[in-house]
Amino acid sequence: MSEDQILLKVEFGGGLELLFSNEKKHALTLPARVPADNSTSPAPSEKETKPLDIAYLIHWLRDHRLKERAELFMENDTVRPGILVLINDTDWELEGEGGYEIKDRDEIVFISTLHGG
């Protein structure tokens, strides 16, 4: 893996996978530095950048992996209510939420809370 790329695993659960081609597990390679404004189209070189973080990942997944109904995944620039983000099996709130800087081989899980019984 080159130094300016980060390899990560993304997993969807609780029904969210339906929005992502019905695939639960995704292996991704993303740049280590990304546009600070979370825009995911090829960045002009003068744009301000930041390290790859969860906030960017959320935008990237919406723009490049989501197959339908973006409102079921995102709301107000973050994941919609009822979705829990897990960073290496830990609640993202303990890791800095959207600002968590993704490290090589991190495993990020998005699960939707279930209500059925």
């Binding site: 609780g14 639960k24 079921l72 830990t90 609640d91 699960i111 809370t113 279930l114 209500h115 059925g116």
Partner: protein
Amino acid sequence: MTDASLNHLDDYSRYGRQMILDGFGLPGQVALQNASVVVVGAGGLGCPALQYLAASGIGRIGIVDHDVVELSNLQRQILHTEERVGMYKAESVAQALKALNSRLTIDAHTCALTSSNAPTLIAPYTVILDCTDNAPTRYLLSDTAVALGKPLVSGAAQKFDGQLCVYNLNNEGPCYRCIFPKPPTPENAGTCEETGILGAVTGVIGTLQAVEAIKIIAGLHDNKPSLLIYSALSVPPFRSIKLRSRRATCPACGQEGTRQGSIQETDYVAFCGGSRPDWEKLGM
């Protein structure tokens, strides 16, 4: 009869298999005998949970469910029978549990849980099990658990997936609102009817809910907040998640001064047919 003994002599042989367990023993069994659990929902999760709670020797069990048994329930709601189709689920389940353990005290409530009756219905019990099938009741139960200071063992299941979490554990752990501050819109909260469910998946989660309740009552719980995720078709099928502590700003369990916002009436009023319980007026 003191607190340190079982009520009936043959209970010692009946529960002997668990009383010889390290860390359980007679004190664990006496704790079960003196404990009470309320199970909200006598469906896919409630049936297995109730059955193992009743078998374990818990003294008193409350059941809250206003539905009646339908044929399509029997694919997973294993305490009901074909003969009892049409009967209130709470009563059908009470009948099954009585046959398994005649010494169990059972309170069968055939009314819906609403924001007006929740405090009085739930107050008499030590531990609450959330075996419901909809988001509004989940928020109502969590708020009730926080207001009454009781642990809430919450299970959920859909399709091939399940989730298990204990909220408000020891009045220190996070509540449902700490983890999911904002309820999803009704469109995003499917029920079994719409989305399908493999019956045995509810069995796995419901049985695990009984395990958690028994651990809490017997003093065997490690009191760390975690979420268990189950996916019957995934490898590995189980994943344990370390959860945040309470949010100081949580409108339900946050402390006065740091708490932000209020529990919105609309969270469950539209579904549950009542307004938010007036906890102060009820003296809780």
